[in-house]
Amino acid sequence: MNLDIGALSLALAVFLLLNLGAALWRAARGPTPADRMLAALLFGSTGVGILVLLAFAGGHPALVDVALVLALLAAITGIAFAQRAWQKPGEEDDAA
């Protein structure tokens, strides 16, 4: 028995792409603006997963760096979002 991890990675990358497509369709449909913000979550997890799988499927090791940078940017974006949402004691709640 011989396992081809490259081929498996490619197949799973396509599978995750289908997941991402379905999830983005759901996010785009809403119904509330908050639902649409789910797209920001999707790229940080599913998008990163697709990139690392492709790095191993096609032998492009640089894609791992792309995935690392994407994850880093997602984390920074998330912290920036949360910092805006973070309420300091005594501050007005609906500032924005």
């Binding site: 760096d65 690392l68 949360a82 973070w86 309420q87 300091k88 004691p89 709640d93």
Partner: protein, 168 residues
């Protein structure tokens, strides 16, 4: 940002060295151990250290216990595995067995980094999601209103408190 000019220079130098070491390890990992671009690395590490000291001066960071942090991370990884497993089961089982509710949770941890870590970790643990912080209470959305939220939260708060205890 608060600027504190009276920060003792010794502690600033100590934390600068510590942070530079951490950034150097990051660079080694990103460059896959290749030292040929070392001038760039030195410049990058220096810039990162300067930026981190400017944005997060040594004095504004509460002391962190290495042992407490390690124990927190091990426990947290186990909890987030359990959280993913639970929600995956709920999503895939034929009958939708959600009994969600929003519950107000009084916070015992001090404001700042401990509360931030608490709220962030709560969102990845089984069945809980922080929604809104108001004063000293956090509104928590739970997937099952029967789940022992107060117990889980108390356990998490203990672990978070241990991270910030002054035991090095």
């Amino acid at each position: 940002m608060t600027r504190r000019r009276q920060t003792s220079s010794a502690s600033t130098i100590r934390s600068a060295l510590r942070r530079a070491g951490i950034f150097a390890l990051f660079w080694l990992m990103a460059a896959e151990g290749n030292l040929s671009a070392w001038p760039l690395a030195v410049a990058g590490i220096a810039a990162a250290t300067a930026a981190s000291l400017w944005l997060l001066p040594a004095k504004t960071l509460p002391p962190i216990s290495a042992g407490g942090l390690f124990r927190f991370l091990v426990w947290f990884v186990r909890q987030s595995l359990a959280g993913g497993w639970q929600v995956a089961r709920l999503a895939l089982q034929p009958r939708l067995a959600l009994r969600p509710a929003c519950i107000e949770l009084p916070l015992s941890l001090p404001p700042g980094l401990p509360r931030l870590l608490f709220t962030a970790a709560l969102g990845l643990m089984p069945g809980t999601l922080g929604v809104r912080l108001q004063g000293d209470t956090l509104l928590v959305h739970v997937l099952d209103r029967e789940q022992p939220l107060a117990d889980d939260a108390a356990r998490l708060a203990d672990r978070v408190a241990a991270v910030f205890e002054e035991t090095r």
